[in-house]
């Protein structure tokens, strides 16, 4: 209960800060006739409006930056989301706030926290290039060009992951070996691809803890990353957003704990028929550290379900499960059928599978593209198909294509499950 009170106090403090310092919030609350002193814990969600990406895009920079900040302020860091679907966004925040959020988040996994906090630690990043244009993965760049001030080496890779040239793969491998990272900060699909390349070349991937983000870790990606190291190498998935930073991190028991020290979280119900399973919610976040660009009741677009309230680790923060984004949910005849995470659970991590993409072509037609390895034998996919079919509406058809190539999104992210999406 005390935790709840503390969380709400932090939330109200941020709302007051935003109202007094940020033009967008002042106008919005004034227009709605909201008086701050009338906001109560039991009714705030009916009083205060939700915000979304377009509010921050449309009002950037002057409407959303707090008083006293400009984009040239020396304490600010810039981040930008890819905008794969046109929902791109540029955000600035105080670098120290972002660092504190990250530090708080890593506490879910003490070994990773220790590495992250170590002075002079070196991080290798392997993920989609950090902008959405094709020039970003320039094969002429050097290691120095890609070394960030915080000690992160950004490894070279093409936007369309599987077209990354042998030259660039060799360069990424050489750079990892030369750089000797203390931590890998990676997209799981990308890192699984790189792990396969190490294996193909008979080279051992240097051991270091792995944190995965950017896109959901499928079971097959996770298996390949895990197999690339000796037993016990820490691997943790975490949830972050370009605009907010580190939101949640997996603990050693495999539960994804919210970073409740750094944010005030809400769960907006989607009201979907979940056939008896736990309900789905859109994750909604409020910053609580009075930064340069406060977010109040910000709808992330990330759909989550709530996990068990008790975890065997020492972290008492709530546990969530990332289900995916509504735009990728499997929807048949207007009914929600499966989330991307549920599809991944059904596909699981068969030994013969390296990479897949499950795509809904129409209400009843699906394709499962699969890149398989040397363990594959004709017909192996049958059990996977059967599991999926049982969870789809009757008369659904799944065409399996064993392929050598599956394209990434143009942003560089790889989408494993592409449903028709929910009608919101």
């Amino acid at each position: 209960m005390n935790n709840d009170i503390n969380r709400f106090d932090g939330f109200i403090k941020e709302v007051e800060y935003a109202y007094e310092n940020v033009p967008f919030y002042k106008k919005k609350l004034d227009d709605l006739g909201i008086k701050l002193d009338a906001i109560k814990a039991e009714s705030f969600s009916e009083q205060l409006p939700l915000t979304e990406k377009k509010d921050y895009r449309k009002n950037f920079p002057m409407g959303v930056l707090a008083k006293g900040f400009s984009l040239n302020h020396p304490m600010l860091n810039k981040s930008q989301s890819s905008g794969t679907t046109g929902e791109r966004l540029v955000t600035f925040e105080i670098g120290m706030n972002l660092l504190n959020r990250a530090i708080a988040c890593t506490r879910s996994f003490p070994v990773i926290s220790d590495v992250f906090l170590e002075k002079g630690r070196k991080i290798c990043r392997y993920a989609a290039p950090n902008c959405s244009d094709v020039e970003c993965a320039n094969p002429h760049s050097t290691m120095d060009d890609r070394l960030l001030t915080d000690g992160t080496l950004v490894l070279p890779v093409y936007h369309d992951l599987l077209t990354t040239s042998e030259l660039l793969i060799d360069r990424a491998i050489e750079e990892i070996i030369a750089f000797k990272p203390d931590l890998y900060y990676v997209d799981p699909t990308h890192f699984a691809f790189l792990a396969r390349q190490f294996k193909k070349r008979n080279i051992e991937l240097p051991v270091a803890p792995v944190v995965t983000s950017y896109s959901a870790a499928t079971a097959v990606s996770r298996r390949q990353i895990s197999d690339a190291f000796a037993n016990g190498n820490p691997i943790a998935e975490f949830l972050s957003s370009s605009e907010m930073g580190w939101l949640a991190m997996e603990c050693p028991h495999g539960n994804l704990h919210l970073n409740e020290e750094s944010y005030f979280f809400e769960f907006i119900s989607l009201n979907l028929d979940m056939r008896g399973e736990s309900s789905l919610f859109e994750l909604c976040i409020t910053s609580i550290d009075q930064g340069a660009l406060p977010h109040i009741r910000y709808k992330t677009g990330d759909i989550v379900s709530l996990g068990e309230s008790q975890c065997d680790c020492q972290n008492n923060n709530r546990v969530i499960r990332m289900e995916g984004r509504t735009t990728h949910f499997v929807n048949q005849n207007g009914d929600f059928v499966l989330s991307p995470k549920q599809v991944d659970d059904l596909i699981s991590d068969p030994e013969w599978l390296d990479l897949y993409q499950f795509e809904q072509k129409s209400e009843l037609r699906f394709t499962l593209k699969a890149i398989v390895n040397e363990c594959y034998q004709a017909g192996d996919e049958r059990t996977v198909i059967d599991r999926l079919i049982k969870n789809l509406k009757s008369n659904s058809e799944i065409k399996i294509d064993i392929v050598d190539y599956i394209s990434s999104e143009r942003s560089g992210k790889f989408q494993s499950v592409k449903g028709l999406g929910l009608n919101e």
Binding site: G83, T84, G86, R88, S132, D133, V134, E135, A137, N138, P139, H140, Y158, D160, L162, T163, S165, V403, D404, Y405, S407, E409, R410
Partner: protein, 403 residues
Amino acid sequence: MNNSNILADSSDFPGLAVELDGSRVTYLDNAATTLKPSQMVDAMNEYYLGISSNVHRGKNYSLELVSNRYEEARYKVAELLSCSGNEVVFLRNTTEAINLVANGLQLSKEDEVIVFSDAHHSNLLPWMENAKITLVDVNPLGALDLSHYYSLLKTKPKVVAITHCSNVTGVYCPLKEMVSAAKEVGAIVVVDAAQSVPHRKINLSELDIDFLTFSAHKMLGPTGLGVLYGNKVQLDKLKPMNLGGGMVDWVEKDSYNLRKIPHRFEAGTPHIAGAYGLTAAIDYLNNIGFDRLEEHDRTLGRYLYNEAKKREYLKIINQHDEADRGAVVSFEIPTAENLDDVARVLSDSYAIMCRNGHLCAQPYLTDVASGQVIRFSCYLYNTQNDVDKAFSALDEISQYMFY
């Protein structure tokens, strides 16, 4: 095949509703270009009637969306051919693609290129200009002499330029065997697939082909957009033909760095709306299914050939009965002096649109015919009724024009 086996909804094709002097048009010139479905035109309009930005240049919002759609077309083609996205180059058409390869390989007149006698000019002239060509003979029936092809490979040619399906006869060559034999002697294999990709699934992961090309407009897509597939190793060696914006990573006053493949071959603003249209066209074909398209092509091809054979006043080009034949037939009318007039009458009096002339394969027709030919060629919206109508019209006018 009758009207109950139609693959496409005719209402998708406004061109099928056009009338000429009160008669509904029968379109049988699909080997030249196909009709366009509304879905494809709508996709192009989406570009032209929206914020019609450029691609890959700058950071504005609409440019991002347009670039996404443009690259989606590349991925769609890669999926169609079972190759990688960076092996797909967008050009103007098949002709430009073969010219790029013939020039980009930097051949000399000492380099031998094997070319098919029934090749379209676009798969003949670029080689003639850049190298020493050797033609594969045709046999007395008008078919390719495959034994001659295999014997020519002993000379270890630098390039083998295969025509997968003849635009004159609709006959497919045994691609897999021919490619395999060419690779055994170390040749670079280039395939003109302009007449085959619209009808049959080509799985490049099962074929050791270096370059393959086709045009969007022969498969329900827009004109002005062609596709070159290049195996990434070969594509990386190819010299770009056009230089300019969008194909370089860095430019100094006296030097430049090329961008990675495939972008280095796409200098200047590309056919953006065309890429939208090609995506829609491929979606349309995928929705029908290539198994059904191929079956339709074979069945109608056989029907065309058999109907032509029944007419004594015609002389079919390539009379090899067992040939692997698509829905194309070309024929001479030995007793008709001027096939321009025949084509004009078929068009103006019967509303039948077909092709006459040398079909951009003049050396071949010089060998196997005495001059011009008439060609009927079908696509997914054509039926046996269309073929019946065309031959029936020919039968009628034969009384007045061929005897």
